[in-house]
Structure formats: structure tokens, C-alpha cells
Assembly symmetry: none
Homo-oligomer: 295 residues x 2
Amino acid sequence: MTESATAPRTAEELRAAILERYDTFSKRLQQIARFVLDHPDDLALETLAVVAERSGVQPSAIVRFAKALGYSGAMPMQRLLRDGLLANHTALGYGERVRQFNAALDSQAGTGDDGELLAEFVDRDTLALENLRQTMTKAELARAVKLIDQAQTLYIMGFRRAFPVASYLAYSFQQVGKRTVFVDGVGGLTRQQIGAIGESDLLIAVSYHPYAEETVHAVEGAVSAGAKVLTITDSLVSPMAKMAAQVLQVRESEVRGFRSLAASLCLAQTLVISLAFERERAGARTAPRTRRRRS
Amino acid sequence: MTESATAPRTAEELRAAILERYDTFSKRLQQIARFVLDHPDDLALETLAVVAERSGVQPSAIVRFAKALGYSGAMPMQRLLRDGLLANHTALGYGERVRQFNAALDSQAGTGDDGELLAEFVDRDTLALENLRQTMTKAELARAVKLIDQAQTLYIMGFRRAFPVASYLAYSFQQVGKRTVFVDGVGGLTRQQIGAIGESDLLIAVSYHPYAEETVHAVEGAVSAGAKVLTITDSLVSPMAKMAAQVLQVRESEVRGFRSLAASLCLAQTLVISLAFERERAGARTAPRTRRRRS
DNA sequence: GATAGAATGGAACGTATATTCCACGTTCTA
DNA sequence: TAGAACGTGGAATATACGTTCCATTCTATC
């Protein structure tokens, strides 16, 4: 049973192989071939018995069909179509491909080649970024920027793994002239730092699982003080999500408990510069005297 | 087991039901809930055993989860997600669906070009990552990891724009059990924080143009104290470069004056995990009994 | 029209899977 | 600090599935 001899390795190859060898098939095999070409999703997702019933043949005939194409059974062919379906589907959401990367990493875990490691992290971060682009909608971003723009003072908070993101946000927002308080928790002064937050302020809370207690408490405090909350987090069921006026979900890929921050920082940068542009536009509207044309 | 009582009938209903009842779930059930929300395709396509292994729980726990939602078992829930996946997929052709997705993004543009901004940053960061992969050699990385591994205590420093990178490094190295001192400069105690650095220690200095004075001085101090220095910087002619035992050059993309940190953080993560692997290998050699399941 | 060869349907089989069950551990409560 | 209720992991079990096998039917050739 040399499966590798002629067995197609991708969904497209399978399709081509069926078309090519269609004439050489027996009547029943041709019937199955037509069904596979017409309803590939059925064969991919449903059980063999269901496919058999739907296509009006016996399960054993489907196995014969798969073997005629060089597979060891019907299951390898199903898996092929299933993976193809998933690949096409996740052209929108790249999370699945990230998973495949992780599996690939696991398989070659023993080698531990540093250079390969870098290449794999580059790939993985690239996927995370692409996923961010696909899943973050303009509406979400616009609402977040509006919240930031309308806030009198910005309070920014994020501990542990979220700390780099928070510190980047704090630094950058200060750079573009937004009044910003960075709640860094130094000296155990978290409560004091955030104590002055008021109704016209916004707390940007960055937190990933497992969510730092301080951040959760700070969000609660901010909400009860009447302030709005914008959270950047990794799950819609995070403790902060339901209290927040706006949630920006970032799905970083994870390798052995080490999650990246590439997507989060890209998002952070986008927020900062979007705010800068927003203010520029607003400034141009309120002060139409601005003349760039100079004689 | 009246399944029809509360059991969601569509994938969307299921998602909503999980979000709604998330708080009432036990710890393990919440873990499963997060996985289902984050990787619905996995649960839809893979077998229970595979899903269990991927999400780090027992198959029986998944069955319990499904029953908690009102199903008679895990299989009905799987079928639900599977059908939803198929419906989404077969509703339109693949390409059409992608186009529709993008069109949806465009239509809800709202205020302005925030979405384009995000896309632009994603592109730039992707390029920066690709550049990192091509320019960073294995030898450089290996030398850097060796320096880190041999250091008795790690001092990590980076101010202003480099601060997020430094804080990420400090946090992550501590996570993998490396003795680490994070020189954060709180209270103007930079000199005191780094004062104890000795000959067998390593200072990791992260700095970009314009190079923060404190960091430059700290590097000088570390060198004169006999310590090694590893710098992550944007130029080989940066003030720190000639004093460092090893320089890792990172060229970040720049968009309208704002530089990203994606490549730096990817490199940082690579360093951390390379060290973890290195130690694991060494540990395996000296103590082959070491069994490690999860990190 | 007879016969050899291939193809087919359906039952039987072994396996992999979902599910159940129970002893153990954990977490509240009195 | 007990005790009880709940939650959990993993073995045991039942089920459903893919696959194989073989008697029967169909097709092609002489």
C-alpha cells in the first residue's frame, strides 16, 4: 500500500487527479467522483456513512474510491479535504495557521536551533499581525479613538506581561501631547495613582490571561467612579470585558506559555497615531485659518 | 437530559450562551469556554481527544462542558459548530467571501482612515520582521544567548522608547528562572540599581536613537566594572556598540515619525526562549531525569 | 449463450471514539 | 477544624465508525 506513490497531497491535486482519471473509473466509482467534485465539503465534514447515504453508494465503495486514488483508506482523503477547507476558511482568521505553526514547533522541539527559532517567531508574529488586520474592524478602532479623544485625562495601566504595552502607550500618548497618567504601581501606589480618575476620564486597561488582580480592581474602581474604560485584552470573557465601554481583542499566538506582543504593540501604535490624526483633523476644522499656502 | 430546554441551536447562540454563563462555570469549564471561543474551528473539525489535548483538559471535561450548556453530549455541540462552519463556507465562494469581508470593513469606515492606518502598520511591522529574519545571523544570536547563559546575574536596562522592550525582557527572563535585575530608574536610583554589577554579570542595554544618557552611562559603568554588555540597538555606530561584547542590530520600521517595536520584541522573545531551550538541553544532560510537561 | 473477470452490496470485524463512572482532591461551610 | 458538597482526572465501558471480506451480480469476450 504505497500511499505516497500517486496519492494527491493537496485538495487541488486531488481534484485534478479525479478529473484526469475519471474515464478509467467504473460506473460506481464515477458516481462517487462526481459527488466528491460537487460536494467536497460534505466529504470533508460528514461521516463516511452519511456521505454514503447522501451520494447513494455504500461506504465500502468510498473506501475503494480512495484506494483507487492511492490512499490507504477513505480517512486520509477526508483529512486532506478537511485541511483544505480549513485553510480556505482561515484565510480570514489566521488563528488556525498559528496552531499549525505551534504543532510544527513542537515536532522539531528537540533540535532547538536558535536561527530556526528566530525564523519561526518571525513567521508567527507575522501571522499574528495579519490576523489583527483581518479581525479588528474599523468601527471598533474608531470607537476606541473617539473614547481616547474625548477623555480629559488618560489613565493607562497594564501589569506583568501587559506592562510593555502599557508603558509604550503611556510614552507614546504623552509624546503626542495627550494628558496621560501612567499607572505603573511603583511603591504600591496603584490606588493613589488612579484615585483621582473622574467621569470625564478614560482608563485604558491592558491585560491578558491570567488577569492581574490590580488591573481588575482598577477597572472596577474606575467604573464606579464614573470613568469610561477601554480594555485591550485577549478574550471576550476576560473579567474586564463586560465593564468596558469598548473592548479591543488581540489574539497573540502562544508557544509554550510565551505569548508575543507584536500584535498588541501594532494596535497600540495604531491607536496613538489615529488619535494624532484625529486631533489634526479637528484642529484644522476649528481653526480654518490654518494656511499652508504661503507666498 | 432535556436537551431542548436551554441548548443553543446555532453557533452564534452558542457563543452568546458561553459568554453569558461564563461566570457561573468552574475553573476548568471556564478554561474550556475560552478555548471554544478562541478556537471554534478546532472543536468543530477535530476529534474530542485532539481537542482535549490541545486545550489541555480531559475529554470528559469537554463532555461535562457540553452538558452544562444543555446538550446531551459533546457531539451535538460539535455538530453545531461544524454546520456553522459549513454554512459560512458554502454560502459564498472563498474569494467572494474574502472580498465581502473587506467590503464590510470598508463600509463601516465611519470617521476616517483608521482601518487603512492599521493595515499600513501591519505592513510595516511585517516588513521589519522579515528584515530581522534576513539580517540577524545564527552566530550573532548564539553568541548573545551564550553571554546570557553564562551571566550570573542579568541587568536589563532601556529607557524611553526602549523601555517596553527592556521591561518585556526583564519580565520574561525572570519567568524562565534567570536571575534578573530590572534597572527601571525609579526614584532616580539608576546608579544604585546597577551599582552591584560585577565581572560575571551581563548588562543588556536596549537603546535607540537618540540614545538616553542614562543608558550610555550605565554601559560605561558596567564595562569599567568588568561586566559584559549586550546591546540591542538600531545602529552599529551607536555609542554603546563599541563597548559591547555583542551587538544585536534591529532596524525598526518608521511610519510618519513613529517607530515600531515589533522586530525588537520578536528578537527579545527569541532570546528568552533560546535561553530556555539552552538550559533545558543543559539540564537534560546533567540531570536526565528532568521531566517537563508544561511551562 | 456460456464463462471468466471485475465490480458491487452488505454483513462482520477491529478499532477508535465519545461517554460514563468512581475514587480522589479541592473548596466552601458549620 | 471537621464535614459536606462540589469539581476533577483517568480508567472502564458502550457505541459508532472505517475497513475488510466474501457471496452475488454485472459486464465483456469468445
